[in-house]
């Protein structure tokens, strides 16, 4: 059931502006109840203002191999937010170490 509502995108081998552009484009494609799981090699510092402007919620986590994963959902979509947070909780919170 988790996988049915999760859309994923891996931008970890891409250079600017592709990670930002592809992530925003993928977020626009989200259906009701769905969230986006974005994987990147670093914290996407340019992404957050854009997500806020477009009214998306987000949660940033660190994987065991040190990569960054950002869980993104439309604000107001409670089901997507719940599913995203549940998936995110499996990973450690991101710290600017």
């Amino acid at each position: 059931m988790q996988h049915d509502v999760e859309r994923s995108i891996d931008v970890s081998t891409l250079g600017p502006p592709e990670p930002l552009v592809l992530t925003l484009a993928a977020a626009e494609q989200l259906q009701a109840g769905e969230y986006l799981r974005m994987r990147h090699r670093m914290k996407p510092c340019l992404l957050y203002d854009e997500l806020a402007r477009r009214d998306y919620g987000h949660d940033t986590r660190r994987t065991v191999d040190g990569m960054c994963e950002v869980f993104i959902w439309r604000r107001g979509d409670a089901a997507a937010a719940t599913a995203a947070r549940q998936a995110a909780n499996a990973l450690a919170p991101w710290t600017d170490a």
Binding site: L22, R41, C45, A97
Partner: protein
């Protein structure tokens, strides 16, 4: 997969004209430096104390390195650190004008050896650098971001303030004050300017730009955090020992050489393990720059251990060439060939969307500056660096060819950047 076009917020991004004026001016000063040296001739460019060498050096340190770094900070602070600068365009225009004028006045002062020109230059450069330090320093100290890049930038700007102060003391010494011996002040000014201001800023910016644009893993957190502080503390200890215990100054000096060698080796390792291993001319520029940095550090270490191997005057000139031209020029060019296309893409993307053109051909980053033109600059840069090292040792043979190639290298860079600006203007006019 072609990236789709989406409207990105430009709230954090200053107008393109703010950094672009600095980036386009810098190679002009590079060309000027090379032509000036040719005009002065090898007979008056054999020692770092000669006016021609001082003029050449400051055309590169102020006219090229500082010029690019000022422009980059105007752009990078809002985007990477999240700090909005107030009135970025008027402030950038004013600082740019003052920096250009101040550099030209200082060069005139060195060549004419007239006290009044030194005083004019000091006033104008104090306004330029002072305004920059105040504006950027204020923004940095109010930044919410705790990224290690912010810390490195703060320490770099602090080093710039020290460099400026030492420069003013040198002007006082020049016009007759007995405040401090000129020879001591010059070495302090040089160290704080090149290792503190240039070195720390390049390292701090590299923490973000290398992983972001060169598709590498991030620098290790401990290195990111401690390297800038280590460099600053070593600079302070070196300065104090240089003044009061000169026989022990080599110790913190070795520490400084080691710090920059560690930075160079770690960066080379990150680049060797890039996640996407496509040919990339900007990575090649960084290979050249980092190898030059290692070369300069090793040269300094060899000179400490066996000073009889290299004539002192030649050591200083070689070290300067490796740091200013080999390392500084290559590292900065590698950054510019990523930052400029990215900025142009960002601004074009948004202007097109605002004009209601949702489908369109925005050039990719690789199309803004053609890889083959950037690679031509790289080849010229490598040739110029090598010829310059030979030319300093054998001026009768290589002096003029070295400087001619150096002038052509900077000219190629200017051509590449102008082509990018022209492309931006053409597409904008077509909207």
């Amino acid at each position: 997969m072609r990236p789709s076009t989406v409207l990105l917020s430009l709230e954090q991004t200053p107008p393109l004209a703010a950094p672009l004026r600095f980036f386009l001016t810098a190679p002009l000063f590079g060309v000027a430096a090379a032509l000036l040296a040719m005009w002065i001739g090898p007979g008056h460019m054999g020692s770092r104390w000669q006016p021609g060498v001082l003029a050449f050096t400051h055309l590169l340190t102020l006219g090229y390195l500082a010029m690019v770094m000022f422009g980059a900070l105007f752009q990078l602070l809002p985007v990477l650190v999240g700090v909005r600068l107030r009135w970025p365009l008027p402030i950038a225009r004013a600082i740019h004008l003052l920096l250009v004028s101040g550099t030209l006045l200082l060069v005139t002062a060195f060549l004419s050896d007239a006290d009044e020109w030194f005083v004019f230059a000091a006033v104008v450069l104090t306004l330029a650098l002072g305004a920059f330090i105040l504006v950027i320093g204020h923004a940095l100290w109010n930044a919410c971001s705790v990224h290690d890049t912010v810390c490195a930038m703060k320490l770099a700007v602090t080093s710039l303030a020290v460099t400026l102060l030492l420069g003013l003391l040198l002007v006082l010494a020049q016009v007759g004050s007995d405040f401090a011996p000129r020879d001591l002040l010059i070495d302090l000014h040089l160290a704080w300017g090149l290792l503190g201001w240039v070195g720390l800023l390049l390292a701090g910016v590299a923490y973000q730009v290398v992983p972001m644009f060169q598709i590498t893993a991030e620098y290790a957190p401990r290195l990111r955090r401690w390297l800038p502080w280590a460099v600053l503390l070593l600079l302070i200890v070196w300065s104090l020992s240089f003044l009061h215990l000169p026989r022990l100054a080599w110790l913190p000096g070795v520490g400084l050489a080691a710090a920059f060698m560690v930075f160079a080796v770690v960066t080379l390792q990150l680049q060797r393990r890039r996640l996407r291993r496509l040919p990339d001319v900007t990575v090649d520029f960084w290979y050249v720059g980092l190898l030059s940095l290692l070369g300069a550090a090793l040269l300094w270490l060899v000179h400490q251990v066996a000073p009889q191997l290299i004539h002192p005057q030649l050591f200083h000139l070689w070290w300067g060439a490796l740091v200013l031209v080999g390392a500084g020029g290559a590292l900065i060019s590698g950054m510019l060939y990523k930052i400029v296309p990215f900025l142009i893409w960002l601004h074009l993307n948004n202007r097109m969307q605002e004009a209601g053109k949702w489908q369109g051909d925005i050039p990719t980053m690789r199309q803004v500056i053609a890889e083959r033109h950037a690679r031509r600059h790289l080849r010229l840069h490598v040739a110029a660096t090598l010829l310059l090292l030979f030319g300093l040792a054998w001026p009768q043979l290589m002096f003029y060819p070295a400087l001619l190639v150096l002038a052509v290298a900077y000219g190629q860079q200017l051509w590449n950047l102008l082509a990018a600006a022209r492309l931006y203007r053409e597409i904008l006019n077509g909207l």
